[in-house]
């Protein structure tokens, strides 16, 4: 299953200068400049930033505030394309050192789909990484760029080794989804240091540590259930490694770097082909007749992608990323960015118009919650503005996966209310330090 490219090059691409959390890039081009594919158009100004490259050939028609899939307007470079596939010379780098790898990553603009630039995940300032995870649970096995599953598996292994080298970690793991049989089959029997690997299921207390010992290897492949959501990293880290990440911290605080399949692939390409990150694979979902996976240039407006599809009915909603946590767009001018994994289209009929009723305490949300919160109580407290009580009920642990809102038969906007309360709490307790408890050590150092 190879991904399809768009039939035509879009007339105009919009490349945001900030496609990551952190500092926006400084534009390197000005209006009227000619750019080539892969040319650097935005340079990072600090460590917490990542370069931006042009994905087309053409002329810069402006550097302006343009709509972004996250809902805001972001300074972007608008390029009018010309029919040309001319690229800048790509220089692959053979056997890079650790330092070089980090620079390659920043130069190639490799960014995690959740926003952090990959080099800051692997080499965070003042922290030491000892374990690198590739989260392959949410992306389909091929990621759109491979001809066979085996190729995918061996490239991922190479990418993992590169990531481990860049971070200086000795251990690494690839986490695939339990029900994703293609991936599991692909990884089954991949040779690492002359040893064949077996895909290990993460069950109960058997977490990664167990399998590192069991398989006598520093690299393992494990499978677990799918986890969806926005703030899943801490939850994911706990599930996989058993390391608890304190509130307000991220996995790097406990020495874990979580990378996505896309950034791993981008790093592989950057090292072996010298290609910067200017193309990404997205999937289409909803009432459309589309190739499942599409290889698109970063900056392609959604409307050019939607035009390639045959859509039954009238489009009611365009959603960047999935239906559970994605952001509905007010315009189809928004471009694909490094954080876009999926475009979902809903028809006018599919757009929900439910009215919230009173909570009937049916406890479906309680059963659905992966972090054992009580959304029944939280949403009422949030609605009444009783944020302190929300905090006492550990609202900060919410990973915003949206399952409670999905399950609610009264159609209450639980996720929205919880986010509202979390926001309010964050603003009120900006300088608040978490309290020490038996399993939570202070100073973000984590622990088991």
């Amino acid at each position: 299953m190879e991904s399809k490219r768009l039939k035509t090059i879009p007339e105009k691409v919009v490349i945001p200068l900030k496609q990551h959390n952190g500092v926006a890039c400084k534009p390197l081009v000005k209006k009227g400049d000619q750019v080539l594919i892969g040319q650097k158009i935005g340079e990072s100004v600090s460590y917490y930033s990542s370069d931006v490259h042009s994905s087309v050939c053409g002329e810069v028609t402006g550097i302006e505030e343009a709509p972004n899939p996250n809902g805001n307007k972001v300074l972007s470079v608008v390029i009018k394309t010309t029919e040309s596939e001319e690229t800048v010379a790509f220089v692959p780098k053979k056997h890079p050192s650790q330092k070089e790898l980090i620079t390659i990553m920043q130069d190639a603009g490799i960014v995690e789909h959740y926003g952090a630039p990959t080099h800051t995940v692997l080499k965070p300032e003042g922290k030491k990484i000892d374990l690198v995870l590739i989260n392959a649970t949410a992306s389909e096995w091929i990621g759109g760029k491979y001809a066979t599953p085996k190729e995918y598996a061996s490239q991922m292994m190479d990418a993992l080794k590169l990531l481990m080298k860049a971070s200086g970690a000795v251990k690494g793991a690839i986490i695939v989804r339990k029900d994703d049989e293609d991936s599991i089959e692909a990884f089954e029997g991949v040779k690492v240091d002359g040893k064949a690997l077996r895909v290990a299921p993460l069950l109960g207390t058997r977490r990664l540590g167990h399998y590192f010992k069991d398989q006598g290897s520093n690299v393992v492949v494990a499978s677990q259930e799918r986890v969806l959501g926005r703030n899943i990293l801490n939850f994911f880290t706990y599930n996989v490694t058993g390391r608890k990440v304190a509130l307000g911290c991220n996995p790097t605080d406990v020495g874990v770097a979580v990378c996505g399949v896309k950034s791993a692939k981008a790093l592989y390409d950057a090292v072996h082909e010298g290609k910067p990150y200017y193309e990404t694979v997205i999937s289409m979902e909803g009432a459309v007749n589309c190739p499942e996976l599409m290889l698109v240039r970063i900056g392609t407006p959604f409307k050019d992608i939607v035009r390639e599809c045959t859509f039954n009915g009238e489009i009611g909603k365009i959603i960047a990323n999935g239906v559970i946590t994605g952001i509905a767009q007010y315009t189809d001018e928004v471009p694909v960015t490094k954080g876009t994994t999926r475009i979902t289209l809903l028809t006018k009929e599919q757009v929900l118009r439910d009215e919230s009723l009173d909570c009937t305490h049916c406890a479906r949300c309680v059963d659905a919650c992966p972090v054992s919160l009580l959304p029944t109580r939280l949403h009422v407290l949030a609605e009444q503005g009783r944020f302190d009580e929300c905090r006492k009920m550990h609202i900060q642990f919410c990973i915003e996966c949206g399952r409670c809102s999905f399950a609610c038969p009264s159609k209450i906007h639980i996720l929205q209310l919880i986010r509202y309360a979390k926001n309010a709490i964050e603003q009120a307790y900006e300088d608040d330090t978490p309290k020490e408890s038996p399993n939570l050590k202070l100073g973000c150092c984590g622990g088991e």
Binding site: V323, Q329, T344, L352, A363, V366, L373, P409, L415
Partner: protein, 338 residues
């Protein structure tokens, strides 16, 4: 082109309050038809009148207090139907009317409507009517499982709901289809079942002790009582108990929301019903038992709030404490090389 914007999630599950109520009503229709077949026109009158009265009362209240009229969600109809099924067929026609009226006004709306009431409105009304007009509300006979055909059509049925235990098993299908949650009914049913068997077992053991039997095999043989249908159990296998387990105890606003809380609530229901039923009769026992269990539901909920995510449970921490005490020479453990 205009696009809709809204907060995620953009799709929601197909369950709605309305569909859940409809499913429950549909699951109760077979037993209603059976009661009409068994008792004739009076049963039909009672069911129709109670449902109409409940819906009319809800409509009236919501109009008077200028609230949104919610009769279409089926909750009022469900309450009316459930009350009708708890009425004996000989009752005068104003009993179901008043019962449905009382259930909606006092049971449901006086406490604040859907999701806010403390006691199941059906039970509130039933307890009131039963105490006020005991003569009309006392069933003519108490059902008892004599032969297996009683499971299909109970000849000793006193209330409408008693006519056919097997037709109430539509509730089990609702559990399978996830319209009803499984924890409360499962634990409730197990408790009621094992309470009677355990009592029978202990009384057999006690009688052996009194006879002065010393052979341990005789004592072991009493374990077989768990496999027999004892006399007490035959009083349990009646429609009203099934109805209580599947429809009354699973009323969501009156049961706790926490996972452990629901298990405990199911056990509390089972225990109270068994005590009432064992020493009295299971018709009143089921209804009073669940009514009392409703009273402690909120307490159970506040006592079983889940701990912080990733927090050690009591079992884990005690295990860890014990393992700490054991000297390391006795432990078989792979010592980590880090």
């Amino acid at each position: 082109m205009d696009y809709t914007i809204s907060a995620p999630p953009h799709i929601k599950s197909k369950f709605s309050f309305r569909s859940i109520n409809r499913a429950k009503i549909l699951a109760l229709i077979p037993v209603s038809l059976a009661s009409v077949y068994f008792f004739g026109i009076p049963a039909l009158e009672i069911i129709l009148v109670a449902v109409l009265a409940a819906v009319a009362t809800e409509y009236g209240i919501q109009r008077i207090f200028k609230k949104k009229v919610t009769i279409m969600d089926g909750h009022a109809a469900l309450i009316g139907l459930m009350f009708a099924l708890l009425t004996p067929p000989e009752a005068p026609i104003w009993i179901p009317i008043f019962g449905a009226f009382f259930a909606i006004t006092i049971g449901k709306h006086a406490f604040g409507g859907i999701g806010s009431y403390v006691f199941n409105p059906v039970l509130v009304s039933w307890v009131f009517v039963r105490s006020a007009w005991g003569g009309f509300m006392t069933p003519m006979s108490i059902p008892n499982l004599g032969q297996l055909s009683d499971l299909v059509l109970e000849n000793g049925a006193g209330l409408l709901v008693d006519v056919s235990p097997i037709l109430l098993l539509g509730g089990v299908y609702l559990i399978y289809k996830k319209y009803i949650e499984w924890r409360v009914p499962l634990v409730f049913a197990l408790t009621v079942f094992f309470f009677n068997q355990t009592v029978a077992f202990f009384s057999a053991v006690m009688s052996l002790i009194q006879e002065g039997v010393l052979n341990p095999l005789m004592y072991l043989a009493t374990m077989f009582i768990f496999l027999e249908v004892t006399d007490e159990l035959s009083y349990v296998m009646v429609g009203i108990v099934f109805f209580g387990i599947l429809f009354l105890a699973t009323d969501t606003p009156t049961s706790p929301v926490t996972k452990n809380g629901r298990l405990i609530y199911g056990f509390a229901c089972g225990l109270l019903v068994s005590i009432y039923g064992y020493f009295g009769n299971y018709v009143d026992g089921t209804l009073y038992g669940i009514f009392l269990a409703n009273a402690i539901a909120a307490y159970i909920e506040t006592k079983t709030l889940p701990a912080m995510f990733g927090h050690e449970s009591l079992l884990e921490s005690s295990y860890r404490r014990i393992m700490k005490r054991i000297p390391s020479s006795l432990k078989f453990e792979v010592i980590s090389d880090e």
